[in-house]
């Protein structure tokens, strides 16, 4: 394929040959010589005091090298685990989190000891011999109950369970409600979810006596942040710690923040002076890896009778868990995105972070945007029902139209055409015919629902001014390095990392297109902090392409510009007359005089350079975007509810998405498909359940936690529009989370629409058969 056509081409993925043949390199696929095994002893109680902890029997067990407890780690680990401001700078209380508990345990699964042994089985056996005497305390489980004055405390002795309580106001909310002709209210839940990346977490730490360095291998979305946090805790210079993450079996947000094991395993390796490996089981993941969502909203919307939206007031009660996740407050972005794709006079959002005796919540695919979208899309449908209007019409009447568009909270949507994606989606389902069919089926006692979701999302973190405040200092820009070797082969290094998104391919397409060389000549490197720029900012918030891709493009352009100066020198032409096309530098008007990119690369390492030019052909570029980017789209779900069983069957799912310029349509479609699946999974199947009294996790395995299989999910029909972002030269936005952000609202709107004849106005998630059956039974009761 012509190099000039690389951006926009369906290039097959370069990472696949190793993955389909079993030669991928996930963290647990390689172990250093003499590697030992670490097993974590975890609290079985959600809340308890440790009366005593006796390791003697474990120490004496066969194959055991060391048993380490809190005091051992306190001697070698400094400080506490990090909590960033994210979207709530002003937190009331942030409980200090040390990677291992030594006095009070505050969630089921919290580490209390570790066993290091010669083999995994020896470590597992010995872990059962660690005797811990617990004094169980009342667990705080329900966030609403946790806010009552007489509630038990998540941390004994704490003044209350409030982590934060902040209200953000945008526009004139009082005037909006004063003008209202109709006000509707709802309570909308967002159940806790387990991200469930198929590869559980694994940490391998290896001290290197040569230079006193330490290598940490783990599956991560942002290896450089892990290096930063863990090196500081260990009292080591960042230069002394190398974090390596190769193939990662899914992230979805749960591999962003540092975990206790990310500290305990390296610390144990240093204490023993040997390589140490820890491999998470799925059961450990369910209790110990971060959850997402876990929120409930009280919302009221003011509108006119003609469907004009005026104002919204909402309260987000967010189940923070026992500690504030490193990026846990990112989920408060739901408030900022609650206005959605619409014009409002004013929106007021209160976010309350509540401490409970559960594993912390942290970003999970969408992280606050699915919640904000679900909220506003549900309320628009509720309003349509209240007014007897078509939900599509209410949307059209209120869409933001002039771009850039400033939402009530001052966020500036870069570009969009919301009416166009909605019109396309309605066309694809033949909306009028579908409404007729719905009416006809209702006469037969069949309940078909049509659900719309016209989402807009914020992604591409982000502009330095906004993001440095959110992390507490580090701006979430991105760095890339491009190095051209004498033969013209090109190595590209970028600070993002992939967990299945196909960066090896997409990023190589961008670099090769910019350099005008075949993609085979470009090799992409990421996930190893010893390579590339001094810092990398990672992959989350659908940022990799719009920030990392632009960093690659910038570094590549710098290389081309140096090569052009050198080519002009070699061609004895004026630099302004040298054009770069199809991988060759040529003199304008005399195409015979030209040099290939590889020839210029070789010359860059030779003696004949223009005056003042140094040898070499490489460049670093950091890209700081001027704004976030704002993908959008319209999804339509058509679903039927069996009134006798409560079973939902998705008839059709149509998605029209706009993520700006598309670099690789195959990968973009794959991201949308997978995103929709996770949104449907939340809408219909998945829920982390804790026993309301004891606080014990009831969904501790994949037997109880219902990740949908192939039989449960529809094949969505995809279409797209392309509205390039004006924020970056590629015109790209983001696509990794869009499907998830849109889908839960589309499905629940369809289910609620189906149940309208029963007078049911709202259905919470998951819309499982038992939940719907109960709702229908209640509605039928005279």
């Amino acid at each position: 394929m012509a190099v000039s056509q690389l951006v926009g081409a369906r290039v097959q993925r370069r990472e696949d040959p190793r993955l389909i043949t079993g030669h991928g390199h996930y963290t647990d696929d390689g172990e250093p010589r003499g590697c030992t095994a670490l097993q974590v002893v975890r609290s079985p109680h959600p809340h308890a005091l440790i009366r005593s902890l006796d390791t003697a029997r474990a120490v004496a067990a066969p194959g055991v090298l060391r048993v380490l407890v809190g005091a051992d780690f306190r001697a070698v680990l400094r400080g506490t685990m990090p909590v960033t401001p994210s979207f709530v700078a002003d937190k009331r209380q942030v409980p200090e989190r040390f990677p291992i508990a030594d006095r009070e345990v505050v969630y089921q699964g919290e580490p209390v000891a570790v066993v290091v042994a010669l083999s995994r089985t020896a470590a597992a056996d010995a872990a059962e011999l660690v005797d811990v005497d617990y004094e169980p305390l009342q667990a705080v489980v329900d966030p609403d109950r946790a806010l009552e004055a007489d509630s038990a405390r998540t941390h004994a002795g704490a003044p209350d369970n409030v982590c934060w309580d902040v209200t953000y106001t945008g526009g004139d909310v009082a005037a909006a409600f004063a003008e209202a002709e109709v006000v509707i209210r709802e309570r909308i839940g967002q159940q806790r979810l387990a991200p469930t990346a198929m590869e559980p977490r694994v940490v391998i730490a290896e001290p290197d006596p040569y230079g006193g360095r330490l290598t940490i291998r783990l599956g991560s979305q942002n290896p450089h942040f892990i290096r930063l946090f863990v090196s500081q805790a260990l009292g080591m210079a960042e230069t002394q710690v190398r974090v390596v993450s190769r193939d990662v079996g899914g992230g979805f947000g749960c591999k962003i923040s540092p975990y206790p094991e990310d500290y305990l395993v390296p610390a144990a390796a240093r204490l023993l002076g040997r390589p140490v490996r820890w491999v998470e089981t799925r059961s450990e993941a369910m209790v110990g890896t971060s959850h997402g969502r876990g929120q409930v909203y009280d919302v009221e919307v003011a509108a006119k009778r003609d469907g004009t939206l005026l104002g919204m007031r909402l309260t987000q009660i967010l189940d923070v868990g026992a500690y504030c996740g490193t990026f846990g407050a990112f989920q408060a972005v739901a408030v900022y995105m609650a206005p959605g794709a619409y014009r409002w006079r004013g929106v007021e959002g209160r976010t309350v972070g509540v401490l409970t005796n559960k594993v912390p919540t942290d970003p999970y695919r969408g992280a606050g945007r699915p919640e904000g979208t679900h909220l506003v899309e549900r309320m628009v449908d509720r309003l349509a029902g209240e007014l007897g209007m078509d939900p599509a019409e209410v949307r059209r009447r209120n869409f933001a139209e002039a771009f850039p568009f400033t939402n009530p909270f001052g966020l500036v949507y870069d570009s969009g055409d919301y009416g166009r994606t909605l019109a396309r989606a309605l066309d694809l389902v033949d909306y009028p015919a579908l409404r007729h069919r719905q009416a006809a089926l209702r006469l037969q006692g069949r309940y078909l629902g049509i659900g719309l979701s016209t989402y807009v999302e914020i992604c591409g973190l982000g502009p330095s001014a906004a993001t440095a405040a959110a992390t507490g200092g580090i701006a979430l820009v991105e760095g890339a390095q491009v190095r051209v070797f004498p033969t013209g082969s090109v190595a590209v290094y970028v600070g993002t990392h992939a967990q299945g998104q196909g960066h090896d391919t997409t990023f190589a397409q961008i670099a090769a297109a910019t350099l005008g060389i075949p993609i085979e000549q470009v090799e992409l490197h990421h996930g190893d902090t010893d390579e590339g720029t001094g810092f990398g900012y990672g992959t989350y918030g659908s940022r990799s392409l719009s920030v990392g891709g632009m960093a690659i493009r910038g570094a590549t352009i710098k290389v081309v510009e140096k090569a052009r100066r050198l080519a002009a020198h070699l061609l004895e032409a004026d630099e302004a007359d040298v054009i770069f096309e199809g991988g060759r530098f040529a003199v304008r008007g005399s195409p015979a005089a030209s040099r290939s990119f590889a020839e210029v690369a070789l010359a860059a390492y030779g003696p004949d350079l223009p005056h003042g030019m140094e040898q070499g052909l490489e460049a670093v570029h950091y890209f700081d975007p001027a704004n976030f980017v704002w993908p959008f789209g319209a999804h339509v779900c058509v679903a039927e509810v069996d009134a006798e069983t409560g079973q939902v069957t998705i008839d059709r799912y149509v998605a029209v998405d706009d993520c700006g310029t598309v670099v690789n349509p195959m990968i973009v479609d794959g991201q949308i498909q997978g995103g929709i699946a996770q949104g449907i999974a939340q809408a219909l199947f998945e829920e982390v359940v804790y026993d309301p009294d004891s606080g014990q996790l009831r969904t501790g395995t994949l037997l109880d936690y219902l990740v949908p299989t192939m039989s449960e999910l529809p094949v969505p029909e995809l279409s797209r529009t392309v509205t390039p972002s004006p924020i970056n030269a590629l015109g790209v936005k983001g696509v990794g989370e869009a499907g998830t952000i849109a889908a839960s609202a589309a499905v629940i709107n369809a289910v609620s629409d189906a149940l309208q004849p029963f007078g049911i106005r709202h259905v919470d998630m998951p819309a499982s058969p038992d939940r719907l059956w109960r709702l229908i039974q209640e509605a039928r009761r005279p």
Binding site: D16, T21, G22, H23, Y26, G30, T701, L703
Partner: protein
């Protein structure tokens, strides 16, 4: 303490000493060094560890290594012939049937058994055949496509021989 087990893995005979409680998947990964077979859960839901055992697709986390004594095992590493990919591998690549790739070996092995029993499955038969495997990335859309494509190509004989033929060697 160890038991001696002998199995033919991807056509090669392996004789090793294993602890009686060792799971086949751990034996394959840790002792034999074939790390393409993955572990995604501990309750036999995810199917990432699926291999062919005497031609049957089994979750190798539910089989003890000692139970596989004398068996012929095919893992993902045994599916290609040199540079020639198995039609299922090729189809997963062509149809973008994988993202993170962690579940992929299990899907390919389960699909190999499905197609050896039923070379021309309907979509519903594919879905039922693969519902013991979980994927978190793809929404299964392109996995379904990949199995369809592989089935079509294998029926028309346009690519390599079927997995069942391979595993019976």
């Amino acid at each position: 303490m160890g038991e001696r087990v002998t199995m033919t893995i991807n056509g090669m005979s392996h004789e090793d000493e294993v602890e009686p409680r060792t799971l086949l998947v751990h034996h394959l990964r840790e002792t034999v060094g074939l790390t393409g077979t993955h572990v995604g859960c501990d309750t036999s839901q995810c199917g990432a560890c699926t291999v062919l055992l005497d031609g049957d697709a089994v979750k190798s986390c539910t089989v003890l290594a000692v139970q596989a004594d004398g068996a012929a095992i095919t893992t993902i590493e045994g599916m290609a012939r040199g540079d020639e990919l198995h039609p299922l591998q090729q189809a997963f690549w062509d149809e973008h049937g994988l993202q993170c790739g962690y579940c992929t070996p299990g899907f390919i092995m389960t699909a190999a058994k499905l197609l050896s029993d039923n070379p021309n499955p309907t979509d519903d038969e594919i879905k039922i055949g693969l519902e013991g495997n979980l994927c978190r990335c793809t929404g299964y859309v392109n996995i379904l496509k990949a199995v369809r494509t592989a089935s079509r190509r294998m029926l028309s004989g346009s690519t390599a021989a079927s997995a069942s033929a391979r595993s019976s060697e």
